[in-house]
């Protein structure tokens, strides 16, 4: 098992370098260091000297990938890519272009992101599985039919509609919760109730349909027929046998997103004024803050790789046949 984990970690290194390279290329195809400087210095009274100074201070006065003027290995290391990307592997994110420390920002924003994303994930998973099991239980009845219709309808509605509609109805019309905002500690509860509810409801359509398909596939297998032949109640068949065996595809989808919960939700955080990592990323893209963008992409890649590893490891928990030794 340890050897397997080590091998996967080693595989991750070239992947992360590749992701960094792609992020770097994409960012600098659109933005030159001069553009970044202008964006940060504003549009009024910006002199060419100020732009040069800004670039020099942040190391953007070097060549992007290959330094002809240097010699030896410095041709590779004395470049923007090497200088900006290698420190990420030590999780040293440095300062953002506005000089605020990225590590400090991430630390402060992780809590609000998790306060929103974790309940959406857990409650959403529970609701989707329950609803999907119910549809599977009543398969080929009008309950199943209308359940699927409802799912398709819910899938067809834009997340933005759920957000604006939810805010209008629950917070503006019925005055039940604050429209937007955030506070730390227990007070966070009243700010995340609505976005969590909206997150769960907006995910029911696609989630339930996916799980329903998984359950129906399992229900057609021989062991289910055997269980029924033994005279087991349908609920026992469903919960004790089908659910357990459907866990592998469920885990594939679910465990991989757990680490990514740290990354926050881009849209929901913006609309509900939750100062999480999702809105941090959006702000950075809009402000052409390469330091933050590359850090967030790097963290996202690391978490995704970690998620995939966790998914593989979780298989051993639900399926005794799977071993990595």
């Amino acid at each position: 098992m340890l050897a397997y984990i080590l091998r996967r970690v080693l595989y991750a290194i070239p992947i992360l370098i590749g992701v960094n390279l792609i992020t770097f290329a994409l960012f600098f195809i659109v933005n030159t260091p001069n553009d970044m400087a202008r964006m940060h210095l504003g549009v009024k009274r910006v002199t060419p000297e100020a732009i040069e100074k800004w670039k020099q201070e942040r190391g953007y006065d070097r060549p992007l990938l290959w330094n002809e003027k240097s010699a030896g290995v410095k041709r590779l290391t004395d470049t923007i890519f090497f200088e900006k990307s290698m420190k990420l592997f030590a999780f040293d994110f440095g300062p953002a272009e506005d000089r605020r420390d990225i590590g400090e920002e991430i630390g402060a924003r992780m809590g609000p992101s998790l306060a929103l994303a974790m309940p959406v994930f857990l409650v959403g998973l529970a609701v989707n599985i329950t609803f999907a099991l119910m549809m599977a239980f009543f398969r080929a009845t009008y309950l199943d039919f209308w359940g699927v219709v409802l799912c398709v309808a819910m899938m067809s509605i834009s997340t933005l509609f759920y957000i604006i509609g939810g805010q209008y109805v629950a917070a503006k019309l019925w005055n039940l919760v604050p429209i937007s905002g955030y506070d730390g500690g227990l007070d966070a509860g009243r700010f995340v109730i609505l976005p969590v509810l909206i997150g769960v409801v907006s995910g029911i359509g696609s989630g339930s349909r996916w799980y329903r398909t998984i359950f129906l596939e399992e229900m057609g297998r021989d062991y289910v027929r055997t269980a029924r032949a033994k005279g087991l109640a349908e609920s026992v068949v469903l919960f004790r046998h089908v659910l357990k065996n459907a866990m592998i595809p469920i885990l594939t989808g679910a465990v991989v997103v757990i680490p990514l919960l740290f990354m926050g939700s881009l849209l929901t955080e913006s609309f509900f004024g939750i100062p999480g990592l999702g809105s941090y990323t959006i702000d950075a893209i809009q402000a052409q803050d390469f330091a933050v963008v590359r850090s967030m992409v790097f963290i996202g890649s690391v978490l995704y790789i970690a998620g995939l590893l966790l998914t593989d490891l979780s298989y051993t928990l639900v399926d005794p046949r799977i071993r990595f030794d």
Partner: protein, 692 residues
């Protein structure tokens, strides 16, 4: 069900209203609630240059001068200075000296930088801090050295002041000082103590007086003395924040401004909220006793002579989206708000005469509408370096003039700006000396004065000009093809399509084809910088209320493609430039007006711009907000505001009563919908095996 009941109980614990986004402990307190959309980038007065940032720092920092809150046209009055300094010419006008005397006894806000032991903090202590205000706090008196220190900071090699280039032209020795500091600042890990280095043009006279010596004349310098660039910065603060570990905790002078103003920034979370607290060391300042005649009727002089500030705390919440912002304003959780395009029809009704009034819904809530024509211009320029539309030839000039008539800015304002703007006839906005009003103010090239009002000239006149320019019926006689022009714009969103179609339609009136070149902001800037655009749109907001700050946008030596000036049209007219040099050093007088008139006439005749419009800002405020008068120049307006707390509390209670019955109904519906499922489940469980 149990969870829902717990949730309802949890919410009911929030008090009479459940949707209050602020802590219950703040209820009934003297707090003003505002918002901000963009994260502030800089709060250091050397670098800060945007309106978003000024709403924070201008309440904290105090330059020597400020704008009178009520009087119009805008008038400079002393803030920390004893009087508005008068320029004194020396060496026969070779230099000008401003002597600024500040009032004794002004004290800084409580700050850890003024406690000696805080200047050498161990790394662990810094690491454990959540706010610099957790440390012991001290204060000291404001002295002239603090102003001098800040002027030197404009040339600090580790900072980026947008006005360093401009001030290097005027403040004697500033350019040399900047170069010297770059050489001195070798070790970036060490604090650079600017007190050890003299700046020739800035002199300490005594504890409360300093002099600034300028090259030649620069009457506009006095306006800069009302801007954050010239606020005092105590050296102790800079040294305090330079300690190791501070920057890592985001404790920098760029994020924690220090000042003598009525408020101090006590909470700095640019991601969520910024909080200003009343500065306990503030000396107090009387509310103005004079204003415009209509200010008395508007109740704006009711607090005359009373000591400011009136509000104890200001909470700014970050609101990135306009929909929640608007709804929270309607719920009474923001005291003031602007009006987005999406909310315009809900908030404002425009009468047949064109007057804007709040809608019945707003009136019912006691919401008041204020409007202000901003000291800003949005213009559409021709690149004078372009071979087709540029140059000083008769052909190109008439082509530009024809297009200026054809582009119907009145229609543009009506369709795309909800009438929120005034058609521009020159670069100078209303309220600024040099702008003519009435018939005298009309651009005779594009408009005529008929029946006591301006009217755009008919399109036939534009067609005639176009034919005279050598493009009869909009066609190039050499090729016979329609004249094709290019409009460079950053408008790329789906909502911009109608705007761009409108532009095509305006030129189609002259049978000219317009190709829109949509691009991102960086590429657009690149085109402007290299002078490869043809038609383009830009804007300019005043730094100070002087015609020079607008007319310089057409000053030849500041042509953008030849350097880094603000003349994006690259307009060069030696006569205009000579008049500009003369005008900029003149005091406001009939003679200066004549010079400005001549310059405006030249700009109209040469038509390097289609003089777009001056935007009209609409703002709404609740009935409990007093002393709110829009002021485009003064950023330090919070101290004038007053809140009627009981009125706000009553309105919030009335407008935000929780409505619970729909929740109960939804729960019942969910339960009812579960009944068929339960019945079906039972039926299935009891079902006997069917025969094969």
């Amino acid at each position: 069900m149990r969870i829902v009941l717990i949730l309802l109980l949890f919410l009911s614990g929030c008090g009479e209203v459940w949707n209050d986004p602020y802590p219950a402990s703040e209820r009934g307190k003297n707090v003003l609630y505002g918002f901000f959309v963009e994260r502030p980038k800089h709060l250091d007065p050397v670098q800060s240059y945007t309106t978003d940032e000024s709403q924070f720092i201008r309440q904290v920092l105090e330059p020597p001068l400020q704008y009178h809150y009520l009087k119009r046209p805008y008038e400079l009055v002393p803030l920390t200075a004893v009087e508005v300094p008068k320029p004194r010419e020396v060496d026969g006008g070779k230099f000008t000296v401003y002597e600024i005397r500040i009032r004794p006894g002004i004290r800084y806000q409580p700050h850890p930088a003024f406690v000696a032991e805080n200047q050498n903090l161990p790394a662990q202590r810094v690491e454990a801090l959540h706010s610099p205000y957790e440390l012991p706090l001290g204060t000291r008196e404001l002295v002239s050295d603090d102003y001098i220190y800040q002027i030197k900071r404009l040339a600090h090699p580790r900072l980026h002041s947008p006005i360093l280039g401009l001030m290097s032209e005027y403040i004697v020795g500033m350019g040399d000082f900047s170069k010297r500091m770059k050489e001195v600042d070798k070790d970036r890990a060490k604090w650079l103590d600017l007190r050890e280095h003299a700046l020739e043009g800035v002199e300490r006279v005594d504890r409360y007086t300093y002099r600034v010596k300028l090259n030649g004349r620069y009457p506009q310098f006095v306006y800069w003395l009302a801007m954050p660039f010239f606020t005092p910065v105590p050296w102790e603060a800079e040294r305090f924040f330079e300690q190791p570990g501070m920057a890592k905790k985001n404790f920098t002078l760029d994020w924690w401004p220090i000042g003598t103003g009525p408020y101090m920034l006590s909470e700095n979370n640019p991601n969520a909220r910024m909080v200003l607290e009343r500065n306990p060391n503030f000396r107090g300042e009387p509310y103005p006793s004079e204003g415009e005649p209509e200010d008395v009727a508007a109740g704006l002089l009711a607090d005359a002579g009373k000591t400011m500030p009136f509000i104890d705390r200001v909470v700014f919440s970050r609101e990135k989206e306009s929909v929640p912002l608007w709804n929270k304003f309607l719920q009474g959780y923001y005291d003031v708000a602007g009006i987005g395009s999406d909310q315009f029809d809900q908030a404002v009704r425009v009468s047949i005469e064109g007057a804007a009034e709040p809608t019945d819904e707003m009136v019912k809530k006691g919401i008041t509408l204020s409007t202000l024509v901003s000291a800003t211009i949005y213009y559409f320029g021709f690149n004078m370096k372009d071979p087709v539309v540029g140059g000083s030839s008769e052909r190109a000039r008439k082509l530009r003039q024809a297009i200026s008539i054809a582009v119907d800015m009145e229609e543009y304002l009506s369709i795309f700006e909800n009438g929120r703007g005034v058609v521009a006839h020159s670069p100078i906005p209303p309220g600024i000396f040099g702008r003519r009003t009435g018939e005298e103010g009309v651009n005779p090239l594009t408009h005529a004065w008929r029946d006591g009002r301006e009217q755009r000239r008919p399109i036939e006149e534009a067609r005639k000009l176009l034919a005279e320019a050598g493009y009869p019926a909009g066609r190039d006689p050499k090729t016979g093809a329609p004249l094709l022009l290019y409009f460079d714009t950053t408008a790329r969103g789906p909502g911009d399509k109608s705007r761009l179609d409108w532009w095509r339609k305006q030129l189609a009136k002259l049978s000219i084809q317009l190709e829109v070149r949509q691009t991102d902001w960086n590429r657009f800037q690149e085109k402007i910088r290299t002078g490869t655009q043809q038609l383009y749109g830009l804007g300019w907001a005043a730094d100070y209320p002087d015609a020079e700050n607008f007319l310089f946008l057409l000053h030849g030596p500041q042509a953008r493609a030849d350097g880094a000036g603000a003349n994006s049209s690259n307009y060069v007219n030696p006569k205009y430039d000579a008049l500009f040099e003369k005008m900029k050093n003149m005091p406001n007088s009939p003679e200066r007006q004549r010079v400005i008139d001549a310059m405006v006439d030249m700009a109209r005749h040469d038509a390097p711009w289609i003089f777009g419009f001056h935007p009209k800002e609409f703002s709404l405020r609740h009935s409990w907000v007093a002393n709110a008068k829009p002021n485009d120049m003064a950023g330090n307006t919070t101290k004038y505001r007053r809140i009627d707390i009981p009125r706000r509390e009553a309105a919030r209670r009335e407008w935000n009563r929780p409505v619970i019955w729909p929740v109960a109904l939804i729960l019942l519906a969910v339960l009812a919908s579960a009944i068929p499922a339960v019945l079906g489940y039972r039926r299935r469980e009891r079902m006997a095996a069917r025969p094969a």
